[in-house]
Symmetry: D2
Subunit: 362 residues, 4 copies
């Protein structure tokens, strides 16, 4: 199904950018799980557009309305549904693009896939806006993980060649993850923030956009969770991360870098520390054979530059089958990466809760 | 489920490296599909160990026995089951490793996951050997795709810093894919072959191993297949590619490179060529919004160096909870990448057939 | 998942009787399917409480709000979500039952299943009220079927020993199905209606309740749809029919009666009529080997009497673990069967659309 | 998928009656579960043809070969695959039926479904023979249940109007279930056996066949397992029971009988016995709201008479589209019900293990 994740828990996403509402149904959550709605609000606010020029001015309040599955402050165990009603719709901004495909968007492919019946306004179901209910689901899962001593977090690893420090795959802590999450611009290094902000604003002024890389980690996740072959943590995390529009790559641990290493360099030797099995390096990113090793889980996802730019582009009216020049109006993020950070965390949170649920370990 | 892919078709893998047999059940294949068993044999032979020093000497005939779902040369539409009986088992080679975790293997994590009950011989179900039935499934799907004018193929993109030419994402042809597949060492450039072979043999002599990158493509795949969010081609392909042990990353189109591009560089403008919608560049790797664009599908997967090396390594006996030195005996590939090439193709083939089946387009 | 059907289409139900709202997400519906909302309203009204004394006085307007997946009068192909907001909540009526299990309800089993965290008000997610979104889904599917010349319908086959005529399994027509559906009390025979109404009102006066049997049929469904073993039409229909609270049995064709027949009586011989393969009898209920035969599909479902009766019953406070007498207050249907008729049709409609979708036949 | 059950555990069945082999892959079984292969053999022998005239003379040894997932006497937790090789194939017996549909068989519907490509020999994948791997799976699950104090069993409730005693839904014990299972003709009453045997042999002599009803129960199953709506025990059990060819109906507890009861009769009042919540009657069959109540689980399945009878029948050659007379040769069971008893138990066993696995309760 297009928008259904069906693992240890299920996540059924719905909605279109300019429709009545967007939302999600979470099934098989543990019962009796306390949820702090304010914290969920804080989590979701991290995805909301910023007023600092790095993202669209469109105001998305995005306060989810929980319709079911939540009673007296706790999950009931039956499906938890949440809806965000769309209030700030500017369909007219999109009036002129009609059937002229926006490059790097899904206008053309979506039209083919749904025989022209899909809602084209603002990207419809392909809109980045549908990550709002994904982030709601991720915020719920974050609390379920936290109750079990598991913390996840992400930061911007790079934007257009400017790098933040990396998470230390051996020593990353829950505190560091919480700290970076609490920043309005989620990077470790102040210097990186300044330069990245500059790059984003420059792109904006140039009527252009930039992409980047998000690095995400989990600490406190127990060893021995996951499965070989098709239901490993890498399989499930990657499936969920690619649900975020604009992701074009994912790598775990040392990732693509492992292709340039000798086995003797890449292999993480085992040792005992305080009576616990650890590895002396963490090139494997906390996952061996699809199963958690007890070391921090770490991965990176690559985001392409925002497709919507304010420059004239060559395109095609795929209904009329004529070549056309296209100038996209409306408000657009010059860089989605800062807002993508909680989306990536959410994908991880859902994957981890699902893996625990699948093994009866919640 | 650990070893079950359940999409438009289902693929249920089973087996352990040193058990009686390994195999696969394919459900929901189209009925009446002719299968050329010789071609399947040729496809599978590409995964078999080579006699040229680049892989283990272990002889794996790996001739699959089709037990059901195949009648008078065609698929029946009911489950197709195939078994490969293990004949060349050398359990004694693995006698000494028992509960000392081989670094970068799943010995320790698998032990935790299955409470010590999993078959440890030769990696058990975590063994790269379980890719044999995956490749059988991929070979079956290759023929289903070929009947519809779709060709897939892969090559070694790099090994330890030595690069082959890339596939041309705009102009790659079925002929080129067939050609590179037919080579005993699947690269485009003769020069790359020579250098890579040298690198592999050097690693072998140094009792070490090397990793690399496989690049894979499909041509002829129709536009408009796939789904947004969770069931896009990227989601499904990545889920299947991570089923191959040793994969640590995947990227589509320009992949991680997109993080360093401006939107104006990364966006693939549309145009009409011979009355058909095309893009003028193919940074998107043939997939937009999870849906095929009609351009060649192209992605790369990163493989870590073979974990089994013949050097003494530090480790832990996870049963006795003592630190141990480990020397792995037995025959091992100094580089799995050449043999991984048909595995990556297989993951793609399964994903594409599944996507077509899910939409009733087979 | 508790409330997720995941076949050729997916149906994700949510909501609690006295929560904010109940609803459903339908994924993988065909794109571009026209939906007549008025007709959906008529279909759903058949499930609404009647003012004629046969059902609860509780007013359930149950007008669903479609939030997504519907654009310009047609399905978009992306998830269709609909919500019914609960407005007529009388939680206080249920105040006194707290943890005293209502016999034949799921109060006790639900409490155990969800560790006491499930919403107990009015049965929570176990309430018959959650059939409203099921019926919405069924009404949507009815229209998809109708576009393809397929008609389904159901009637009350019996209530407390009083029988309506049976559908004629050989000659039932779309017109007859439409006619019986349009009746406020869905039976074929006027005489049966009068007697059944009498029986229901008598039960009500006796502070009791009665059960019954619903018979359901489909005509126009093409032959050759369905699958052997686990995904046959019988498997899928029964799975969906048992989603309706109060169902305790299902039988296809001659059903349990086949246990008393000789093979020579039960076997439906084949013949040609107007160049079409038919059977000369229809004991098989239109399904052979899980696959439609082209004959009318026909089955019956047994409904237990409404568990909520206004008599004092013996029970247990499962929290205090004490025996208690229980007197249930509030408004209750003396017989759910009339309102269950569209629920059974809905289960069939979803099953048939799902089977067609799974085989790419929509 | 046609032959895939994917719940808390997965069961992937494959094979055709006259193909090379039939089998099953079980995924997500608990790891470290001891399996007694002799006991599995005894369980499977109950399904094997009898030499007493009540079933076909065809000798089916049906000794399954476990290929994976089983190591040192225990499950490994990774997929358990078992194959039964077909050795006693008499394809020539079926030579004359070719494309003339056997009444009440799936020849015609299967031909349509698979476009004529399915294996027609002996019913192919539609054959009752595919219940052998289902029973293997059921025998494995029986042992997993037994380890947890759960016993299931079934008996012939009736054949052609002749009834055995019923299980006592309040007091049925593990001992009684074991006793009836150990009988070569699984009924409670000796008198019923004699009469039923007589009826079966009479049908055989009359070149006819008879159907019947199997009653199945579980004791010791914990309360609080299962889910409302679509994943209740009734939904899952019925989905699995309908996988057995020839089943045309299923009912739980008092079943269809509930349609003739008042609520005050049908409702099972609660009480405390030895500090445990029980019901004073068990009309609900141990399942309320899809969830186990702790009372014995009890249900019945109706089997149609064996379709293959030795009388001339009217039919159609669906390839030539001509009416034909058909005389079925070969060896056939005059009554499948005795051999169906362990099949029904197996469906229940799989459902119960799956439900426990889904909730992390194994």
């Amino acid at each position: 199904m297009s928008s259904l994740f069906n693992g240890g828990i299920s996540v059924s996403l719905f909605g279109e950018s300019h429709g009545k509402g967007i939302g999600v149904v979470l099934d098989n959550l543990p019962a009796g799980e306390p949820l702090d709605l304010d914290e969920i609000g804080v989590f979701m606010a991290r995805r909301a557009p910023k007023k600092d020029g790095t993202s669209t001015m469109r105001s998305e309040k995005d306060i989810p309305d929980i319709l079911s599955g939540f009673y007296e402050g706790k999950t009931t165990g039956t499906p938890l549904a949440a809806v965000i009603f769309n209030t700030d719709q500017h369909s007219q901004d999109y009036g002129n693009i009609s059937h002229v495909a926006r490059p790097a968007h899904a206008d053309y492919t979506g039209y083919l896939r749904y025989n022209g019946a899909n809602d084209p306004r603002g990207g419809g179901h392909f809109s980045g806006r549908i990550t709002a209910p994904l982030v709601f689901a991720g915020a719920v899962c974050a609390q379920i993980l936290k109750q079990r001593g598991i913390t996840t977090g992400a930061h911007i690893r790079s934007i257009k060649g400017i790098s933040d420090e990396s998470f230390d795959p051996m020593n990353i802590t829950a505190e560091q993850l919480e700290t970076v999450k609490s920043r309005s611009f989620p990077v470790i290094s102040d210097d990186a923030e300044q330069k990245m902000r500059g790059e984003i604003l420059a792109a904006r002024e140039a009527q252009d956009s930039v992409g980047g890389i998000v690095e995400c980690a989990a600490v406190g996740f127990p060893a021995g969770v996951g499965s070989p072959m098709l239901d490993g943590l890498e399989n499930v995390i990657s499936r969920l991360v690619f649900a975020i529009p604009a992701v074009k790559g994912i790598e775990f641990g040392v990732g693509f870098g492992c292709a340039d290493l000798f086995g003797s360099e890449n292999n993480d030797e085992f040792a005992l520390r305080n009576g616990k099995v650890v590895t002396l390096t963490n090139n494997h990113g906390g996952i061996l054979g699809g199963i958690s090793s007890g070391m921090p889980i770490i991965f990176r996802a690559a985001f392409k530059p925002t497709p919507s730019i304010s420059r004239t582009q060559n395109s095609v009216d795929f209904k009329e089958m004529t070549e056309q020049q296209l100038l996209i109006k409306g408000r657009h993020d010059p860089c989605v990466v800062p807002r993508a950070v909680p989306c990536v965390e959410s994908a991880l949170n859902i994957a981890l809760v699902s893996a625990l649920a699948a093994e009866g370990k919640l």
